[in-house]
Chain length 403, copies 2
């Protein structure tokens, strides 16, 4: 443990360091290098970015997707003349090794999809603070995750702007005096697209998010509002509220990041610029707040904030998520897995935008919900839903080919 | 001390019970009668309302403006067949007696103007929770009031919607991590009135506040933005921030009641319906929040919140208040007294709307600022400013008569 001017130096692991959240996390750590150092990084296949990060932040351990990636990274690092070569791991084991790396205080869980599930669970079980950007983790196995955190005393700090905002709004409040949580949704690029035009939506249009710069999967999830559905389930596990106590409101400007309504009718809201570094820093430094160099929110120039009820007909994914949440057990895991497959198929131009909820709905209808009794039960539901989704997508694709 | 189902029964005194805040306070107490009982009420000349309140809430002590009012009230209460006649006091002594009434836990300071000054000071000195709606108190003698509260351990809970909102936003925050306070202003009825039309503004137009139902003096203060200026000074004393750390933003919908910007760029805001009962109840029950029967804020129906920079040219009162605050000492007391006189003269049709800041500015220029060393020093500055304002108004009136 090294002492810095500001206090104790914290060691950080990042699961998913070359993605959008990972890069922003390193940008925050770069500006707070007297408080945080990087112990371990896990990435997928973007070896060029990863090599640059290793040269700059000198982690002791690095993990990549496959063994061949590990060899390639080693070569790149040698070529770059890195002083001390880090240990290089790969695959699921590599991810877990990064989460469990010795001496780590904070694990930033920033991968997209089910791949972040195990390393997040292991980090929580070790009692480490987890800054969670991977929302599938709580959607799939919120029960197991929160139980692991309770047992070890680990803190679960949300990085997602909505949950981070809720965390801030709830700081001074008693949970028993909260009436409901209100998550804001930008409404995505198709907020005003007529229902009949939604089937013809292009990948490019779906990837053009109006307010946030994010990865492809989460951007599509924002366009279908599944992202908001996943967030409702995530909020349930993070803060302990039921489906009836969590609402969604469309707020196209994405300035109000979320709100909490208290029993007396007061509403506490968190507002900010749409820059993930704000939330990442909050999750890293909580309960402290530190100055940032980000431009301040200029409300006087902003002029106007709008709010609308979400259109549940044009965005069936939101309804599906509430249904899965109410059903509980393995249903949210199955829904999330089906969504991952459907989004991937849409991005591969295998099917249309409005077929995403159709695939998810078909998988949910076929799923026999079981209890979330173990990690294996969750992973089994995940595998089952993926294979189920795959065959539905294949049928739909061949049906299109026949037409 | 009586025990209620919800906990300890609290005894309340209200200074200014027949005004807008006083009536709303009694409405809140009416809905929470297992938690609050009324010990003492002070009013001015609205004996009809006061008599009704005495019959309903059975205080032990009542105070009115003058001895003749006391006689008249006694007669009315006899006629109404009130069981146990309360003690009836009058004048400044009566106000102080109500604030200091035995066994009182909470004093609601709800008069308008300097008249609330002494009773509020006495209540704070006795260590009682003061729910403060009288803003002149802190403007005139914030230093004395906060020192008295510190010495006795009294809690000062703001009822004004803006400060109440700030109090809520600051609940979970460290003061050292706050960057600035942002008070919202509705902008009053003349937000879009061209500068050249501001001189011809009628009393009726000035009294037509777009969002809040309030008394006459505070409604005119809202139209000149002096109300916001007084609130900036009040916020300074309540929360300990300097003039440079307190900003004003125009928000015509009055839904966001105020905001706090943190050092990391996050903004925490409080939103609510425009109903003072929400803030009064918060101040009475803090740190608890209790359910209310008020309609919830329906953001989905609200659709739109606007924010603008205030126009300091058309609203010179805001600038004058900042100047008085920076000058400190007895200057804010002199400014507030001059404002009271100017507003009264406007309401008496003795002068025009845009002469209000002119009178205040002239009084401020003539004032020789002294230290707020004692109550007497403040009251002397108040008296001096009133007489100074009176002669300026008389000159201006005779000038008009000569034209």
């Amino acid at each position: 443990m090294r002492l810095s001017i500001g206090g104790v130096m914290k060691n950080v692991s990042i699961i998913g360091s070359t993605g959008s959240i990972g890069q922003n996390t390193l940008s925050v750590i770069n500006s707070l290098e007297d408080r945080f150092s990087v112990s371990a990084l896990a990435a997928g296949r973007d070896l060029e970015s990863l090599a640059r990060q290793v040269v700059r932040f000198r982690p002791r351990l690095v993990s990549v997707a496959e063994e061949s990636d590990a060899m390639e990274l080693k070569k790149r690092l040698k070529d770059a003349g890195v002083g001390r070569m880090p240990d290089i791991a790969f695959g699921q084991e590599g991810l877990v090794a990064v989460a469990c790396c010795d001496g780590v205080d904070v694990v930033v869980s920033a991968t997209v999809g089910a791949v972040g599930f195990l390393p997040t669970f292991e980090a929580l079980s070790l009692g480490r603070r987890v800054c969670l950007a991977n929302k599938e983790t709580l959607v799939m196995a919120g029960e197991l995750m929160t139980r692991a955190a309770e047992r070890s005393g680990a803190e679960l700090l949300p990085v997602d702007s909505e949950h981070n905002a809720l965390h801030q709004c709830l700081r001074g409040e008693r949970i028993s005096e909260v009436k409901r949580l209100v998550l804001t949704a930008s409404g995505g690029p198709f907020r005003r697209t007529p229902l009949e035009d939604m089937r013809k939506v292009s990948i490019e249009a779906a990837l053009a998010h109006p307010t946030w710069q994010m990865g492809a999967k989460i951007t599509i999830d924002s366009a279908t509002l599944m992202n908001k559905g996943l967030e409702v389930i995530e909020a349930h596990w993070l803060f302990g509220f039921s489906a009836d106590e969590i609402d969604v409101i469309v707020h196209p400007q994405s300035i109000v990041h979320s709100m909490v309504e208290m029993v007396d009718g007061s509403v506490i809201a968190q507002l900010g610029v749409t820059d993930m570094r704000l939330m990442i820093q909050y999750a890293l430094t909580y309960p402290e707040r530190l100055p940032t160099e980000l431009p301040a929110l200029d409300l006087g120039k902003l002029a106007q904030l709008e709010f609308f009820e979400p259109d549940r007909e044009r965005f069936p994914c939101l309804r599906l998520a509430y249904e899965a949440m109410r059903e509980g057990g393995t249903m949210p895991a199955a829904m999330s897995a089906a969504n991952e497959m459907a989004v991937a198929a849409f991005l591969d131009r295998k099917m249309g935008f409005m077929e995403i909820p159709e695939v998810i709905s078909a998988v949910m209808e076929a799923h026999e919900t079981g209890p979330v009794s173990s990690i294996e039960a969750v992973l089994e539901a995940d595998r089952w839903a993926r294979s189920q989704a795959e065959s539905i997508i294949a049928q739909s694709t061949s049906a299109i080919a026949l037409n």
